[in-house]
Subunit: 206 residues, 2 copies
Amino acid sequence: MSGGARDDSLRSMTAPTRSQLLAEAEYLIRRSGYSAFSYAHLTDKIGITKASIHYHFPTKQRLAEEVVEVAMARFAAALADIEAGPGDAPARLRQYAELFLDGFDEQLRPLCCALSAELAALPDSLHTRTRAYFELHLAWLGRIVGAGCAAGQLRWAGGADALAALILSTLEGGSLVARAMQSRALALDGFAQVLALALPPAGADA
Amino acid sequence: MSGGARDDSLRSMTAPTRSQLLAEAEYLIRRSGYSAFSYAHLTDKIGITKASIHYHFPTKQRLAEEVVEVAMARFAAALADIEAGPGDAPARLRQYAELFLDGFDEQLRPLCCALSAELAALPDSLHTRTRAYFELHLAWLGRIVGAGCAAGQLRWAGGADALAALILSTLEGGSLVARAMQSRALALDGFAQVLALALPPAGADA
DNA sequence: GCAAACCTACCAACTAGTAGATAATATTCC
DNA sequence: GGAATATTATCTACTAGTTGGTAGGTTTGC
């Protein structure tokens, strides 16, 4: 765990080849982007030849599509867990923010962030999926914030959807700024400020 | 000018080759990223051969370095103009936000955003410059916000630097989210909300 | 004459992707 | 049960095109 060895949480050593490929591709895309990663990089990590990767994923585009689909499903499940779990809306948003920053220490961008930044270099099928990924974020945030407002745990002048969009933008931007500035604190700082503003004054009810 | 022709504000037709190359390279990097752009793409647009581009810029890395330097200088000058011009701090921040979104309609990311998203794929010399670019943003914002607070035009619980970082994150993230969602309004929405919160209550003094 | 700016023609390395062979493992038919 | 047949997952060897970059010659304007 210590030392320079990187965390392999995304890349199980025992998973079948296909899953390993998806995990490693996601890692590379989130680190360097779609354009910068290649099948050759995958062979280095997985230990099978390029031709064998093409057996599992006929094209790079198809591989990337599946990376997004798998990541989205995993993310949706994590959001559902948060929503089903204990805690009020502010607590759920804090969990969301932590989830959002997952991989930051491995220099990983959120997948949607990495893809959106080079959208013009991506095939159309990935535009659609990138957008869908963002919509998943916004829909969930809108729901949580909306419930929080209704329950008096949050208050926001512009309405739930406006706060949802602000939270997403803040985290998305924070992860970019913080990466370049090499400061994890910076990544959550904006979110924390916004959340603090959205909390009702201490002891307002109860 | 009408129809699908794209705006050539960044890419003067009459400028000397070198400037044209820098402008077109910036355009390509901001649209698709460093990894996805190549000298071949430049030859298409500029009309000289790949070898001739190497005459002006010996390596792709060097070209990109200069792109960032030129863009940063241009940006710094624009910020200085805003600072020297009329208007209070909120007005200056609105001008900054507009400047930040410059090129959005051409599907251009802010340069620092494009670079930070694929930092792991960039040579070290561009890490430094990306960071410096962000620092320029933060320093200017910190100064403007600080002056605005001192003058009673802005108020922010966390202090000027915190608001500066929040504004930057919000715009940076907004430009990513808005691009994927194809909504210019979304790009400025978060910023507008934050600025509204930072304005002192109407008629507080005067 | 000279230097800046450009060219043709190349290079080695890398890109995504294909063809076809080969093991090992299932599945089916008798 | 055992032979015949698919299927799965991998390999070697290849293609055509692109990448960043170089060597060396030519044009152009002072």
